[in-house]
């Protein structure tokens, strides 16, 4: 009972909580996604500034390279001299209109640098027109552009331009100078001084640098240059990235930024969600505790009421016995059978008998509450006990025109508790009298069968054609407290406590009281275990739940 209630309460409260939690989590991750999209946008815009620096650099560099491709003279001395002054040039070359390398060529004046250049670029001269097939790197209709290649793991590139006479003049670019010049153009960090570092104050400039890092990475994703004050995880992927223009098209600018707000927001949100859930769980627990307390309080109250009724009943018992005794004495003294006095006294006797039964029920219940029910087995015949129990009801049954059918087949003398059986039967008959009198019919059956262990099982069925008991009601039919909560008076005078007591008593007698299936009205089946010899039955704690053996 308690367990079920606990589970019920918990599931009622926990399921919505879990739902809220999941919803909250989804909302916050969705928000985080939205925010990270926004960050990506900002990152891309921010990176765009750096890209434009690179574009400007490339524009001016390429325009200088174009000028360098048109030296004042193409004779070897000039082409040898310019690279000794020009930081961008490693080595000039000239390809004639037939597509053949005109300078440098191997002869007696070839220097070591020139020879090394020829070796580095050998693959370029194998093609007859190496500068006609480089559309992807050449602009303006294939008349100038970059050619890149790797030699000894180093990146090399040349810039070339076609002259009007169809000769191609170009030079190998000093890669280190090119990269160095590019790095020089890119922003650098603003220094933080010690004071700022210790006080963690940030200048306006610093704020601009804040929480981002732009990386220039080469084709193998190695860092070439970095600026910004953010330190990303080694596994972090960039928020935005962009490829550099030719000739460094395999290089990338990568933008990293901390997402303090998303992360912070996410954490804050998580905290909020857990706080909410925590609060709700607390509320649920308080509610649960309240219910449990209330439940206990009510059951305690009920017990107090029971014990009160019990005491009152005890107090009533003696005067009632006296009333009955004197009424019976009075009855004996009156001679005339049909006199009005005789009738009145008969009523007094009947009603006090009924009151005695009710009090008996209350007292039995109180005893059962204290778990002190014991059997008192006496020799007797079940059928006789049935008839005896039915006797006091005869008058009211007749008055209500209730037709009583009996089918009693237990004439054997056996040992059973007369009081218990009588009390149960009285309760059952009383129920018929109270609730099923419209049916105007009652049948009482009794049978006895032998069960293993040499014992006998007596089965008594009481059926009526009253309004019957609905399925819903039948579940709680034998529960005491639900009745008691509805009103103790009604419970005592009505069926509520009577059936509970009856079931308990039947269990004490090794049997049970159950509702049997019928098409119309109600049908109660009472079983008890009996023996021919004197025998005691210990109260079986699980008897309440045990189904009585099937009816033969």
């Amino acid at each position: 009972m308690k367990k079920k209630l606990t589970i019920l309460l918990f599931s009622i409260l926990l399921l919505p909580l879990i739902a809220i939690g999941i919803l909250g989590y989804n909302i916050s991750t969705d928000d985080a996604k939205l925010l990270s999209e926004a960050y990506r946008d900002v990152a891309e815009r921010d990176l765009e500034q750096t890209e434009s620096v690179v574009r400007e650099f490339m524009k001016s560099t390429v325009s200088r390279y174009r000028t360098l491709c048109h030296p004042e003279s193409l004779d070897a001395n000039t082409l040898r001299d310019i690279p000794t002054r020009e930081p961008s040039i490693v080595q000039y070359f000239v390809v004639n209109e037939e597509g053949q390398l005109q300078y440098p060529v191997l002869d007696e004046t070839t220097g070591t640098e020139e020879a090394a250049f020829l070796e580095r670029t050998a693959h370029l001269w194998k093609h007859r027109h190496p500068f006609r097939n480089t559309q992807e790197t050449a602009d303006e209709g294939g008349n100038r552009g970059f050619v890149t290649w790797y030699h000894n793991r180093g990146l090399h590139f040349i810039y070339w331009a076609r002259h009007k006479d169809d000769r191609v003049v170009g030079f190998e670019v000093e890669t280190a100078a090119f990269i160095s010049a590019l790095i020089a153009e890119l922003p650098e960090n603003t220094p933080i001084n010690n004071l700022q570092r210790y006080h963690k104050k940030q200048t306006v400039n610093e704020q601009k640098n804040s929480h981002r890092l732009v990386k220039l990475v080469d084709e193998q994703d190695r860092d070439v240059y970095l600026f910004g004050d953010y330190t990303p995880d080694s596994k972090a992927s960039p928020l935005a990235s962009a490829h550099l223009p030719s000739p460094l098209s395999a290089w990338q600018l990568q933008y990293f930024a901390s997402m303090p707000n998303t992360q912070g927001m996410w954490q804050r949100r998580t905290i909020y969600i857990f706080l909410t859930i925590g609060t709700l769980i607390l509320a649920a627990l308080i509610l649960f505790a309240y219910f449990m307390l209330e439940y206990n309080r009510e059951s305690r109250l009920a017990r107090q009421q029971t014990s009160f009724v019990n005491q009152v009943s005890h107090e009533l018992k003696t005067p009632l016995t006296n009333i009955r005794m004197y009424a019976e004495l009075l009855q004996d003294h009156l001679d005339e059978d049909d006199s009005t006095e005789q009738r009145y006294i008969a009523n007094i006797v009947n009603e006090s008998g009924r009151l005695t039964r009710l009090i008996q029920n209350v007292l039995s219940f109180a005893r059962s509450e204290r778990k002190k029910l014991t059997l008192r087995l006496e020799e007797g015949i079940v059928d006789e006990q049935i008839r005896a129990s039915m006797e006091p009801f005869q008058a009211s049954f007749d008055r209500m025109h209730i037709q009583v059918e009996t089918d009693l087949q237990t004439p054997q003398t056996i040992f059973f508790d007369h009081d218990i059986l009588g009390q149960i039967l009285t309760n059952l008959f009383s129920n018929v009298e109270k609730y099923a009198h419209q049916g105007k019919w009652m049948r009482v059956q009794s049978t006895m069968t032998e069960v293993p262990g040499g014992r006998h099982q007596v089965t008594i069925r009481v059926s009526d054609k009253g309004p019957g008991i609905s399925n819903k009601d039948s579940r709680n039919l034998f529960l005491p407290f639900t009745r008691l909560q509805n009103g103790i008076t009604e419970g005592v005078s009505g069926t509520g406590i009577g059936l509970t007591i009856s079931k308990e008593l039947a269990a004490v007698h090794g049997g049970g009281l159950t509702l049997c299936r019928t098409t119309a009205g109600a049908c109660f089946q009472l079983t008890i275990l009996a023996k021919r010899k004197e025998q005691r039955f210990a109260r079986n704690p699980s008897a309440e739940n045990t189904q009585p053996p099937p009816n033969p």
Binding site: E86, T175, E188, L226
Partner: protein
């Protein structure tokens, strides 16, 4: 000398005609550089083709007054990666501040610090508010990795802001670690140095402790005609900066361009020590700057075809142009190179120029030291040991022959190196050797 000609007994009593190499009766104007052209053997045998060394040296004139020195445009690039923290950083700061203290109001200084990122601590500015600059330097702290290439690139950018022919344009790099962000090979940094030299910017590299890449630092300095120093203890940084600024404040000429044209029958084989280009019979080289009272030279190994005995023959001419930063002029110096031929070995020996010989031996031995380093790098310790021993023997015998204490000292250096090939000592020894070689090849006198 690599090969010794057989000794020819003196027969002829009457000597052949001798030759004088330096004839120019220069009025020795104090504001012009001095060009010297000397052959190792002014008299050569007239038999098979003979090998000789031509030393072309140029000496900066003395600065009369320091006030007239060309203004300095220097970027101090300081490695502030994590390894520099503590003593090293403190000493570097002290040294930089002390060096800047020597500059005048017309000089320009900038300070760049780099870790994995680069910070321009002091943008290029005239040195008039020194306290402000010192404060910025004192604020430096160490952390992060080493983006050396970017640091130098940013330093170059600061120097470029005030780049001028009449200024001593210089980057001074102080680093104690291996470059690990950006281009990091000696080749790449060498190329950077080379291109900076073309712009007129020299890079002086100061390696601190034993964790830096000496090849990279030497290549960067060598190709840009700066100085290079191995500073083992941070405490010596101040001295090094002093030397460096001593050079920097005594620049008298810039953009010194050598052109040596040889006549027919004379073949330049190689140039010892310096970067030079050989095209047929033309040898060209460039010096970014020349310091007062210092001689810088290059040694060209030439092969001389036999000529007629007794005749003094012009075998080539030397032309030098440079920007005179004191007189603000472009100066041209020219000299011719002569040799005489004989068939008497004694006469060859008699006229031998021992100074040139010693310089040649020094540089040839330096080459051998490089070979030994390469062998040791490959793990061939025994071969390296042998190479150093042979080199010491060679230096000793040459030292005895030319009576040169310098060569004997160098021999001693090789023997010391031989003992320090063990892994525990090699790191330091290698840096010392690279540093010594650098000083030999570039005539850096500190």
């Amino acid at each position: 000398m690599k090969k010794c000609s057989p000794i020819i007994p003196g027969i002829a009593v009457f000597a052949m005609l001798l030759s004088v190499l330096i004839i120019q009766p220069n009025p020795a104007s104090a504001t012009k550089a001095q060009l010297s052209v000397e052959m190792s053997t002014p008299v050569v045998l007239n038999r098979s083709p003979q090998t000789a060394f031509l030393k072309v040296g140029v000496t900066g004139f003395a600065l009369v007054q320091e006030a007239v020195r060309p203004p300095v445009n220097v970027a101090i690039v300081i490695d502030r990666s994590g390894s520099m923290s503590g003593e090293k950083m403190a000493r570097a700061q002290d040294a930089a501040i002390m060096a800047i203290d020597r500059l005048g109001p017309d000089d320009i200084v900038s300070v760049v610090a780099y870790s994995h990122v680069v910070e321009v601590i002091v943008p290029a500015t005239k040195v008039d508010d020194k306290e402000h600059i010192y404060q910025a330097i004192r604020n430096l702290y160490a952390s992060g990795t080493t983006a050396l290439f970017a640091g130098v690139s940013k330093g170059a950018r600061q120097v470029r802001k005030f780049l001028a022919d009449n200024r001593a344009n210089r980057i001074i790099l102080v680093s104690d670690g291996l470059a690990n962000v950006g281009p990091s090979s000696p080749t790449e940094l060498g190329s950077l140095g080379h291109s900076l030299a073309k712009e007129g910017i020299s890079v002086t590299t100061i390696g601190l402790g034993d964790g830096y890449n000496e090849d990279l630092m030497a290549a960067l300095a060598g190709n840009s005609d700066g100085n290079h120093a191995f500073v083992e203890n941070a405490a010596d940084l101040a001295t090094t900066f002093n030397y460096e600024f001593g050079d920097l404040l005594s620049i008298v000429a810039r953009n010194v361009r050598f052109k040596v044209q040889f006549n027919k029958g004379i073949t330049p084989i190689r140039v010892l020590g310096r970067n030079a280009r050989i095209h047929g019979r033309t040898v060209t080289s460039t010096l970014t700057q020349l310091y007062a009272n210092q001689e810088k030279f290059m040694l060209i190994e030439v092969q001389i075809a036999p000529g007629a005995s007794g005749e003094q023959t012009q075998i080539g001419s030397v032309d030098i142009t440079y920007s005179n930063t004191v007189a603000n002029s472009t100066d041209v110096l020219s000299k011719n190179v002569y040799v005489s031929f004989t068939d008497n070995w004694n006469i060859v020996e008699e006229h031998r120029n021992d100074d040139v010989m010693v310089a040649s031996v020094e540089l040839i031995a330096a080459e051998a030291q490089k070979t030994a380093i390469t062998l040791r790098d490959k793990g061939q310790t025994r071969e390296a040991e042998r190479a150093l021993e042979q080199n010491a023997v060679y230096l000793d015998s040459a030292g005895k022959k030319y009576n040169s204490a310098r060569l004997k000292k160098q021999a001693q250096g090789n023997r010391t190196a031989k003992k320090n090939l063990a892994p525990s000592k090699w790191k330091r020894q290698r840096k010392a050797m690279v540093d010594d070689n650098y000083a030999l090849e570039t005539q850096q006198n500190w």
